[in-house]
Structures are given as C-alpha cells and as structure tokens.
Amino acid sequence: MYNPANSRMIELVHVNRVFQRADGQMVKAVDDVSIVIKEGEFVCLVGPSGCGKSTLLQMVAGLIEPSDGDIAVAGKEISGPGRERGMVFQKDSVFPWMRVIDNVEYGLKCRDVPTAERRDIARTYLERVGLAHVEKAWPRELSGGMLKRVAIATVFASGGSVLLLDEPFGALDYVTRHQLQSVLLDLWNEGGSAARRTVLFVTHDVDEALALADRILVFHSGRKIDDLAVTAERPRFTDSLLLPEMVAIKHTLLAHLGLEKRAAPPKMAAGERTGS
Amino acid sequence: MTVTTRARRDRWISVMVFAALAGIWQILSVVYTAEAQPGEPMIAGWQVLFTKTFLTLSDYWQGGLGVSAVADGAERSYLAALLSILSHSIDTIGRLSLGLALGGAVGLLLGLAVSWSRWTRRLFDWPLQFLRTLPLLAMVPLFQLWFGTYFFGEVLFVAYGIAVIVFAGTVNAVRNVPPIYIDNARSLGASRWTLYRTVILPAIFPAMRSTILLSLGAGWSAVLGAEYLGAQSGLGYIIVYAQQFAYLDRMFLVALLFILYTSISYWAISRLSARLLAWAPPSQRR
C-alpha cells in the first residue's frame, strides 16, 4: 500500500492566516507555516492558547481558507471540507435530533451507501468503541464521554484517510480522557501499522501529546517553533512516559510553553522568545 | 466586512426599505385613481395626504376652544384638523395610559400577593390560566355591555387585559428568582416583608421587562379594538368611522399616526427599561 506520493500526505506550504478584529486591527493567527506529514503519522500540535494551532487545523479541514499559501492532502490541493478529512471537535458535535446509530452512519449516508451496508459498518464501529448497547439511544441520554466515543466512531465509520481532532478530550475529566485516548489509539492501530490513518491532533496537554504522538509540532504566536520526533515504542504505558528520551522531550515542551527554563536550545529558534 | 460596516450598511438598507415602501405607495396613487367619493381618492399620494386629507380631519372636531365644528357649518381648516388630531390622540393615549397604570398596578399587587406562599400560588393557578386563555379581544362586547362605550368602559377593558398579563408575569417572575438570593437574605435575617421589598421586587425586574413590553403591545391592541367596536372618540373611532365611507386616505393617515405612536412608545419603554436594567447580569437581561 506504500505510495511514494503519500510520503507527503498532508503538505502545508507557507500558509498564513490573517484575521480582522472587531476594532479593525489585523491579527496574524498563523504565520508562515510549512509542514510535511507522512501517511500514517500521528502528529500532535501543541502550544499555549491562542497560538494558532486550532486555526491551522481548521484550515486543513477546509472550514476556513488560508489568507496565503497552499494546503494539499494526498497530492491534491484542498478546497473546502471533504470526507477524506474527518474531524472530531472539542464541543459536542453529535446531532441531538438523530439517534446514536443514525449519527454514526451519517457520513456513509452522505456518500449514498446503501442502508443495510451502512448499518453494518456503523454497528461495527459502535461496538469497537464499546457502545453497542446504546445504538437506539438519543444523544441527550448519554454522558460527555459516551458522546465523544460516538463522535470518534462516526468519523472512523465515514472512512477517510486523514483524521483531524481539535482538543477533543479537553472538556472531559481525567479518567474519561485516558479511556478515550486508548479508544482512539485502538481504532487507529486497527489493521496493523500499514493501514493507519494520518492523524493531526491538537492539544495543550503535554502528557497527552507524549502518550499519543509519533511527532510533536510546537506552536507559538502562529509560528511553528519546534518539530520533535517521539520515538518511544507503542503501545505506551505509564512507564513509557518515564523513559529518558520522553522526559527530555517533556522538558523541551514545558520550556516552550514557558513553564520551565530552557535546558537545551530548540531546533528552530529563529530568534523567537518563550519568555520565562 | 467588519461588524461596524455591516451595521452601517444594514441601517442604510432599513432607510431604503421604508423609502421604497413610500415610493410604492406614491406610484400606486398615480396608477390606482379610484375614488370612494368624488374628490376623495382611495390611494392618495403623499402630497395629497398631508394637505387635503389632513384638512378633512377637521370633520372630526366636535367644536369648542373658539373653533367651530364642521358639522355646524364651519369651513375645514388646518387648525381644526390639528385640534381634532390632538384631542382624539389624547383620548386614545389617555385610555391606554390609564389602563396600563391601573392594570399594571393591580396585576403586580395581586401577583406579589399570590406568590406569598406556595399554597396561594397553587390555589390561583387554574383560574389564572383559564383567564389567560380567554382571548382578550373577543371580550370587548362583554365589557361594553357591562361598562358602556365611553371612557370608563375602555379603560377598564384595557386594565383587565393588562392585569391578567402582568399577574401571570409577576407570578412567573417571582417563581424564577434565583433561590440563592432568597436563601442569602434569609440567612442574613430578613423578615418576609423585608425580603419582598428589598430582594424580590428588584430581582423580578429583569424578567418583568418582557412582560412590560408585552403589556404595551397588548394595551395598544386592546385600546384600538375597543375604539373600533363602539367608542365615540379616539383614533380607532376615526378609522372605523371613515371606513364606513371607504375614506381610505383618511384611514391611512390616521393609521400612520397610530403606528408612529406605538413605535415611539415601544422604543422608548424598551430603551428606558434597558437603561434601568444596566445592573442585571447579561443572562437575565431580556
């Protein structure tokens, strides 16, 4: 399944995004960002609030347009949202007026997949996230964590080679968050490493990034300021976070976030400051 | 487009819309020249409305203040027309104001009294709900039968309609006062009476704002309805009286005046209550 083109699965070239504030001032939310992401990579975008990581993700999703620069997925330039780029939002995006199973099969319905087939696929994914017993339930009957599982099942069921997640577990409690991280990794790993989808995961939680990512991109004030490879083997457990190379990465990340003094200079300093 | 330029554009569009409507009226007046009576066009152009039609309103001046009535043989005059408009407007606005004041006071007091305890609230619940469902405007004939068609009857009718609305609104507002305010005051030692005066009364004001605006709308509607159906004076009376002769132009002029009054009153009360509610947290400001 290896396709040379997919060594550049997601490609951003000099992407800029400028907003006009209510008082007329121009704000640069994303500043000259260029990234190349390989197929099957799990990439986390990390940074403090307002650093542009969510804006960047929304541009890759096609929900907003870059002011400047190109974004290409699987070699094709994107224009608007598409089902090859599924997205999980931080807010509850499960449609309250549809039952759970109807929600999960919605992406398939939009593709005009026949009823019986899409029911089967939807049921399979619901089972994988552990919600087979609430297939007929209304979303208002489910807890926040359960709704997130439905959202994840929906996005996986609708297919698509790229997965975008915008701080999906931010609103959940500690336990639920960790459960969902496992659910996500299980689904992602399904079918072996060759069949993995490409994932872009935005978070401000450093531990979450370390547990999930192959690669961590650090952002600050709209600019990419670091690109760290996370080499620890999968599956990762509590102790994996204590490995020396993981601890080193964590220190670097905390320093970027301004929570620690810098121990070693970052790879792409380019004159920025983190302000400690 | 920024927020401010969009707002400005929208304001311009509003002006244009009203200008266009006025323009359409003018065009119609030229196209549709039918006349209800010789010399009284059905759709009068703006230049006619404010001159000839305005003059005809002096027909409705009953005489007095040194200006004789047209019915007694006097000529139509701008002065008579002006006096006529003033006196009828005062009648209509007077009925509305008195009805609002009376109905509002009664409704508020009854609402507060009934909210004194859960028992009284439950006791009055069904009769209140029933009265609220009885369509107000359909009750004009009943009130006219009871209280006549002069000033008193109309005021009472408006007062009744307002009282029902304000009563229901007050009971609802008191019920929705965040219990934390009440608990707080009680734990600080407030007596029932002090509680009412210093906590409940101010606290219901945000919720009462929508009730007040609703009453204003219902009040205008009630006054107009009452005047349509048997009053001897007032703007509604003029409209209905003119309608019997199909004097569309007079009806239109007086209706415009009426719309002006209602819009101004609504805007003024809306602004005033919003100003008085500046202290309320945004979630309660309606």
């Binding site: 096609g62 549809m98 209304w138 | 469902t133 805007w267």
Partner: protein, 284 residues
C-alpha cells in the same frame, strides 16, 4: 456507575417512569382544583347581588352553552348563517387553521432565509420589527375595504400576525444553532441540500413549534375580533349579535366555548410537539 447503568436511568427505566406518573398526579393537585371551585363559588356569590342581566350564574352559562351548541334558532333572526354555536365554531376554526398554516409557512421560510442571508435579513427585519410593535388590528379596516365582508379579510389579518411571530422564532432558532453542527456535517460530506434537510430543519423544529403554539394562542382572539368587525359567520359574528341583543349569558357561553377550544387545541399542539421533539433535553 458504568455507562450502561447511566443509560438505563436516563432513558426511563421503570424506576423513572414511576416518578413521571407522580408528576402527572401532582398536576391534579387538590389545591389547584379547590382554586377553580373557589372561583366558581365567588362568581355564584356575586350573582346574588347583581341582576341576571349583568352577571349570569355559572350554571346558567354552562347550560346555555350546552343547549345552544347544537341548535340556537334565535341566531338566525339576526342574520347569522349557522343557527348554532358549533357551526360558527367550525367556521372560526377553519379560518384559524388556514391562516396559521399559510402564515407559519411564510414566516418560517422568511425567518430561515433571513438567518442565512444577511442581505435578506437587513431588508425584511425593519418591516417585521415595526410590524411586531404595532397592533396588527390596525390593518383590519383596510382589509375589510379590500376584501369586503367575508373570510378573506379575517384570514389575511391572522396570516400577518402568525407570519410575524413565526419569522421571529424561526430566525432566532436558526441563528442560535450551534455552528459546530454545520461544521461537523460539512466534514462528513453533507451537500447544502442535506444540510438543510438533515441539520437546519430538525434542529430548529422545537423552537419553531414553540412559536407556533404562541401564535396559535393569540390567533383565536384576533380571528374573533376580525369577525366582529365584518363577517357573516363565525364566533365573532355570534358575539356581535348577542351583544346587540344585550345577552351577557349568551356572550359568556360563547366565550367559554372559545376558551375551551383554545385550551384543547393548545393541549393537542403541546402533545404533538412533545412527540416530535422527544430528542430535546429541555422539552422534558
């Protein structure tokens, strides 16, 4: 608590269904019933002091309603085409039904469009908002001249009224729709048609139905008054005739019938609303 247990409680397992029964029983609480009885008793007491021509007795009103419901020959003397109460009620109800259907269609369409297209909103809003502050009754005499005496003027008046209310509610419902639903649908591949059909419409239905109930409540009175002003049939005409004949008992009986009809229709509407929006958390 496992998610399965959570789900059982939220979806109304037997323990929960029992407490719902308790809610229904609470509505029939003795104090409320007592309140209604007290109301009737006070009314009866008042009739002892006032002549029957001013205040008829409660029992008298009810008896009059029952007897005139199917047949009231006196009405035909006054030129009412249907000589009974229920015939006129049907006429009025027909008018209300037609007007509410047409008015809500116009209002909902305009409201949804105005929420989507800022230009349309800028054009329609000033007109609708002014119409919202002015009593719609002001248009009644004009409509009477335009359409003459008959159904059309009354129905037209109520159409205006309902359209304005539904416009406001539909616009608000669409504007309050959380953008995350639209974004999610787009990323799942929904076409604009699907967006309207699967997202916009189901999401705005609860609020719009709420507006419909409110509009319906006011429509009865407006229709009655429009008929009072100029009509050959209907509740309004009956009221006009009875007022002219100085018949407070008849008037109160007719009003009672109108009120009961409004209550019953509202209850039916509430039931229909609850059934179609059982997904809505706040509608519980």
């Amino acid at each position: 608590m496992t998610s399965a247990e959570q789900f059982k409680i939220l979806s109304g397992a037997p323990a929960v269904r029992l407490s719902r029964l308790k809610i229904v029983l609470a509505a029939l609480d003795p104090l409320r019933v007592a309140g209604m009885v007290l109301f009737v008793v006070v009314w009866q007491v008042l009739t002892l002091g006032l002549p029957a021509i001013i205040l008829p007795t409660p029992l008298g009103v009810v008896r009059r309603l029952l007897s005139d419901f199917l047949s009231a020959p006196a009405l035909s003397y006054y030129g009412v085409s249907e000589a009974n109460l229920y015939g006129n009620l049907i006429y009025t109800t027909e008018n209300v039904a037609i007007a509410v259907t047409i008015g809500s269609a116009i209002g909902i369409l305009a409201g949804l469009l105005s929420a989507r297209f800022g230009l349309i909103r800028a054009i329609i809003d000033p007109v609708m908002m002014t119409a919202g502050t002015v009593p719609i009754l002001v248009a009644a005499p004009f409509l009477l001249i335009w359409f003459g005496v008959g159904r059309a003027s009354a129905v037209c008046l109520v159409i205006f009224y309902v359209a304005v209310i539904l416009y406001v509610f539909a616009q608000r419902a669409a504007t309050n729709l959380d953008p995350v639903y639209e974004e999610s649908a787009r990323t799942l591949g929904a076409t604009p048609r699907r967006m309207v059909r699967d997202i916009l419409i189901p999401a705005t239905v609860p609020e719009i139905l709420g507006g419909l109930r409110i509009a319906l409540a006011g429509a009865w009175g407006l229709e009655a008054v429009a008929e009072l002003l100029g009509s050959q049939s209907g509740i309004g005409k009956v009221l006009e005739v009875l007022a002219g004949a100085t018949d407070p008992q008849g008037i109160m009986a007719t009003l009672l019938m109108l009120g009961l009809t409004a209550i019953i229709v509202d209850a039916l509407a509430a039931f229909a609303v609850a059934r179609t929006t059982k997904w809505n958390a706040t509608a519980l």
